[in-house]
């Protein structure tokens, strides 16, 4: 099994850089939504096509639900971003984060025949940066660095000590 003790220095540097970069991006995505009172996911959801478009319409049909989703989404991103940067509850954060980003991808996938009115980032065919970020974040969960460079180190030690003593 791969564990963080087997990484070379350059592997560790790469994994950490990737972790901090994604953490930074996710955190800012969250914070920019939290601090902008005008932000709403409605515009994004209006665009939705493909398998999640029904889900998006359902959210849009209910003002209270939309407001709840907006709050959960923005704060979820903030917490996931912080968790990635600090290496705290890293694995669940990385897995939940990658699923969340994958949902964004599935809401507006750049499949052949799907046209969107909001401008897209670059030229995409099936694969876009959102999907790549989801994959990369999932990869980070498989190559964890949190027990060396993260608060999970303390919690794990604490937990280990307690189980040892107990």
């Amino acid at each position: 099994m791969i564990s963080e003790k087997n990484y070379t220095k350059s592997q560790l540097i790469f994994l950490l850089t990737l972790r901090f970069a994604i953490g930074w991006h996710v955190l800012y995505e969250g914070i920019s939504k939290v601090i902008n009172p005008q932000w709403t996911s409605a515009d994004f959801l209006h665009e939705s096509q493909g398998i999640l478009s029904g889900f998006a319409k359902w959210i849009l049909s209910n003002a209270d639900l939309l407001a709840t989703i907006d709050v959960l989404n923005a704060w979820g991103l903030v917490l996931i971003g912080l968790a990635l940067i600090f290496g705290f509850l890293f694995k669940p954060a990385a897995i939940i984060g990658s699923i969340l980003i994958f949902i964004y991808y599935l809401s507006v996938p750049p499949l052949v025949g799907y046209e969107y009115t909001l401008p897209s980032d670059g030229s995409n065919l099936i694969i876009n940066r959102t999907l790549i970020e989801a994959i990369a974040l999932f990869g980070l969960a498989l190559f964890p660095t949190n027990r060396i460079f993260g608060l999970d180190h303390f919690f794990q030690s604490h937990f280990k000590k307690r189980t040892k003593n107990g």
Binding site: F20, T40, F154
Partner: protein
């Protein structure tokens, strides 16, 4: 594996020369430090974030200050004060689709519609509406089915449920006007009835809320104008658009000369559906809508228009014929003119030339489906353009073009600074102002969903014709417009869409229509006050 083992194993991968000399305590401390690696990253993030927030705030406030827009407040301070007032008894003449919306604005809705809106979660904003203290006590419609529907709506008040006052159906509008138990009337019939009904209502001493367009002929318009001018009634034309918060913002922006000298205003209508092209005699499943000679008083429906045999097509799709309407001008340009006139008070144009044709909806219609009108205001150094098309829904917006900036006005406002502006020359040169994209946008509705569904409704919403936001709450602008009318009746004041603006709009529309019919430029004779 315990903590120490882990530390040692990990150390193997770290190329430190003195790793073997470290004590377990050192290693443990070192590991603890490594575990905090996220802190500098988070610190850097926090630092950059505060820089970004300050930068944005600074930039925004500098732009807003530069434009003089830092003090704008558009709340309606007394909205929602639920004070008890004398009930105004309203009669509605013509109970079609528009009358249902007007009734909702007054606080009345059909039980079926209440159920539908409960199910799709769009009822709340209606329930939060201010109590206007009115009763719908009379319904007049030539179609039994519509009259019946009207009676059911009138009997379902948002607050009280069933009406405490009796609700009467009147067979003719004259019967309604003769009844002293009606204080005010709302006229929402097809357009060919508007003028003379409003004249008769004014003469009968009833307050009038008249849907656009104002009048179908110049003679009728003149008579209406003089009748209302010489009366004590409160007249309001049904242009709810100015009740929207964005219009108040737009007014402020223009008054503060943010746009510089405005010499061109471009207004458009962009629709591409059968319903939008006034083909409305079929229901959603393609079956003919109800109505026949037994249930419709056809002679009364025709009014003063030339006799034609009963036609369900004409009954539902009257906008297609010149006898009953002026088409794009009467149905859609009226809103555009009102929007511009309320902001700039441009009044009656010096000349109008229109052209167009029936290019797509080649049915039995007379009305053009593509129409373009140029209104000249040489005294004001201004041209107003209108371009309406019923076979393309490409959104072309409503744009006020000034020397310093242009303003696109719909359900929000977008201001883009002109790259050759004089006023903002410094700001552009210093990089504070970017001319490649809208510099400012006001969107009071952000964070709210609009409860609109069909393409036509979406169209109206985009043009600020349905809802606005006051204090974070969605409010129906028709409700606000009716509220203004009722408040003016009670306080003997003049509402925003008063008879003078109605007259200006009526003349501008009749000029545009005549220009299309006569295929020539028509002029306004200011001295004799007539179209030539």
């Amino acid at each position: 594996m315990d903590e120490q083992d882990k530390g040692i194993k990990e150390e193997k991968n770290m190329p430190t020369s003195d790793a073997t000399e470290k004590t377990p305590k050192d290693i443990s401390r070192r590991n603890a430090l490594k575990a905090l690696a996220g802190i500098p990253v988070a610190g850097l993030f926090g630092f950059e974030l505060s820089r970004k927030i300050n930068y944005d705030k600074n930039r925004r406030s500098r732009i807003v200050q530069e434009l003089g827009l830092d003090k704008m407040d558009f709340s309606i301070p007394d909205y929602g004060k639920d004070e008890a007032r004398d009930i105004i008894r309203i009669g509605i003449i013509g109970f079609g689709r528009r009358a249902e919306q007007l009734s909702a604005g007054l606080g009345f809705m059909h039980p079926d519609e209440v159920e539908r809106r409960t199910n799709n979660n769009t009822l709340r904003s209606w329930l939060e509406q201010e109590n206007l203290n009115v009763a719908i006590t009379g319904i007049c419609d030539v179609f039994d089915l519509h009259a019946q529907r009207g009676l059911e709506v009138a009997n379902n008040n948002l607050r009280d449920g069933a009406s405490k006052l009796p609700i009467k159906r009147y067979r003719t509008y004259q019967d309604m006007l003769a009844d002293k138990d009606i204080d005010a009337v709302i006229i929402s019939t097809p357009d060919h009835h508007h003028g003379f009904m409003a004249i008769d209502a004014t003469k009968a001493g009833k307050h009038v809320y008249l849907e656009k367009s104002v009048a179908h002929t110049e003679e009728e318009l003149n008579e209406l104008y003089h009748t209302v001018k010489n009366s004590h009634i409160t007249f309001q034309l049904g242009h709810q658009i100015t009740q929207s918060t964005v219009f108040k913002q737009a007014k402020e922006i223009i008054d503060k000369n943010v746009l510089g000298k405005i010499t061109l205003i471009e207004t458009t209508s962009n629709r591409n559906t059968a319903e939008g092209a006034w083909i409305r005699h079929l229901d959603a499943d393609g079956n003919p809508k109800p109505g026949d000679e037994k249930s419709i008083d056809w002679m009364q429906w025709l009014g003063n228009t030339p006799y034609v045999p009963f036609s369900i097509d004409r009954f539902y799709n009257w906008t297609k014929w010149f006898a009953y309407d002026t088409g794009l001008i009467g149905q859609l340009f009226t809103h555009e003119f009102d929007a511009v006139n309320q902001l700039l008070r441009i009044g009656i144009p010096k000349s109008v030339s229109s052209s167009g044709g029936i290019y797509y909806w080649k049915d039995n219609r007379e009305m053009p489906d593509s129409l373009h009108c140029v209104f000249e205001y040489p005294d004001k150094d201004l041209t107003l353009l209108y371009s309406g098309n019923l076979a393309s829904s490409r959104s072309r917006g409503r744009v006020f073009m000034g020397h310093d900036a242009s303003m696109e006005l719909g359900n929000n406002i977008k201001i883009t600074v002109d790259r050759n502006s004089t006023q903002y020359q410094k700001g552009i040169a210093s990089g504070l102002i970017d001319t490649s994209e809208p510099m400012l946008s006001f969107n009071p509705g952000a964070g709210q969903i609009d409860a609109v569904t069909s393409a036509s409704e979406r169209y109206y919403a985009d043009r600020g014709l349905t809802n606005t936001v006051i204090g974070g709450r969605q409010v129906d602008v028709t409700h606000l417009h009716l509220r203004e009318w009722l408040n003016c009746i009670r306080e003997n004041k003049t509402p925003s869409a008063h008879i003078d603006v109605a007259y200006e709009e009526g003349i501008a529309c009749l000029m545009a229509h005549r220009s299309y019919l006569e295929k020539r430029q028509v002029f306004w004779d200011e001295v004799n006050r007539k179209i030539i």
